[in-house]
């Protein structure tokens, strides 16, 4: 199923991302919800060929994804930038074992942010991931995001990479209240 042809990717990137992940053979997903990930979470939760886990904290997803790969499944983790701070020591597991890891991180605290409490971890997200050894890629437009996740999936699942794709808050838009 391809739901994204001829769509405006600035709005419809979540369904295009779903297609990219399916094409990459992803059969497993874990998440702590973020408003920006709502559509993608719903699509993957609704796919009977994808095993999904809701987490109490993001680091759980890192260990689960490592286990899924050990058992032969390609896993993706969805979280927002604040969750990256919860992952740090657990990331030593995929980094040290050189296990494929693909994290899709929606950014907060960097663009049109109304909540100052989101700013510190938003500022620290990329540096933190890089400090533990995860490769960080950033997307600011829908088109970029699709292209970046396509190649990140290759780098992760076929080249044993540990990759986080940061989805810029400018693309996500201001949180609606």
């Amino acid at each position: 199923m391809n739901t994204s042809i001829n769509c405006d990717l600035s709005l419809n990137w979540p369904s295009a991302l779903y297609d990219v992940l399916k094409s990459a053979g992803v059969g497993h997903m874990s998440y702590v919800p973020d408003a920006g990930h709502t559509t993608l979470i719903n699509l993957l939760n609704g796919d009977r060929h994808v095993k999904t886990n809701v987490l109490t904290t993001e680091e759980e997803g890192v260990a689960i994804a490592t286990g899924a790969w050990l058992g032969g499944l390609r896993s993706v983790i969805l979280m927002q930038s604040s969750g990256v701070g919860n992952c740090i020591n657990m990331l030593s597991l995929p980094v040290q074992t050189r296990t494929p890891l693909l994290m899709l991180v929606t950014m907060r605290g960097e663009w049109n942010e109304f909540n100052p409490w989101q700013v510190p971890m938003g500022k620290a997200t990329q540096a933190t991931l890089e400090a533990i050894g995860v490769t960080v890629l950033r997307a600011e437009t829908g088109e970029d995001l699709i292209e970046i996740v396509e190649q990140a999936a290759t780098m992760a699942y076929e080249a044993d990479g540990q990759i986080a794709v940061l989805i810029g808050q400018r693309l996500l838009g201001k949180k609606k209240w």
Binding site: K51, N53, A68, L70, L93, Q96
Partner: protein, 195 residues
């Protein structure tokens, strides 16, 4: 609170003798040494770090390998660091995941400081309240014999068994520390190709 009396190495040896094809994940520290002491095999996945990750690594394996049983063998301190995992695993509800907690009520690797399980926190009750299909506390070695008979029986969901073991440090039996070697060996055992 009184610590347990079960000899950890004897208990783990019994569980491994009865593993019957189960994939084994071990939490860092003494649980890894106990499993390694019984024999280093391709279907053992040892953690040397990532504290709090053993049960969840086991969950990922269990979800990917639904036809196999997964047995996580870990310590009370390691499981305490994965408190949220009780909820996540219960909600995921795998029928092929068993967690064995070797509970000496201490942080044995770091100087035998008291842990929460010696101060009233009952991991079996937490698992039960979370929705695990079966939980049990074992205080004697003969109860481990019964557990070995029960483990191969079909489960309705994740199970957790707390073994109250003696709090003592015994000679370490060190698994390989090369993380990619253990990963590739484990995956090869399952017929999965390396990168």
């Amino acid at each position: 609170m009184n610590t347990g009396t079960i000899d950890r190495r004897e208990a783990v040896a019994k569980l491994l003798d009865a593993r019957d094809g189960a994939l084994v994940v071990t939490g860092l520290g003494s649980a890894s040494y106990d499993v390694h002491a019984h024999g280093d095999t391709d279907d053992n996945y040892y953690l040397w770090g990532a504290m709090g990750g053993a049960a969840l690594t086991g969950l990922g394996i269990a979800q990917a390998q639904t036809a196999k049983r997964v047995m996580v063998i870990t310590g009370d301190g390691e499981m305490l660091m994965a408190f949220g995992a009780f909820a996540t695993i219960a909600v995921a509800a795998p029928k092929n995941l068993d967690i064995i907690v070797l509970d000496n009520q201490h942080f044995g690797e770091t100087g035998m400081q008291d842990s929460h399980t010696g101060m009233g926190i009952d991991l079996s009750e937490i698992a039960k309240a979370s929705g695990f299909s079966e939980t049990r506390i074992l205080r004697h070695l003969h109860q481990v014999d019964q557990l070995c008979k029960d483990l191969p029986k079909p489960a309705n969901g994740p199970r957790l068994f707390v073994l109250k073991i003696e709090a003592k440090n015994i000679p370490r039996s060190l698994p390989p520390r090369d993380a990619t070697y253990i990963k590739t060996r484990f995956r090869t055992h399952l017929g999965l190709a390396p990168c």
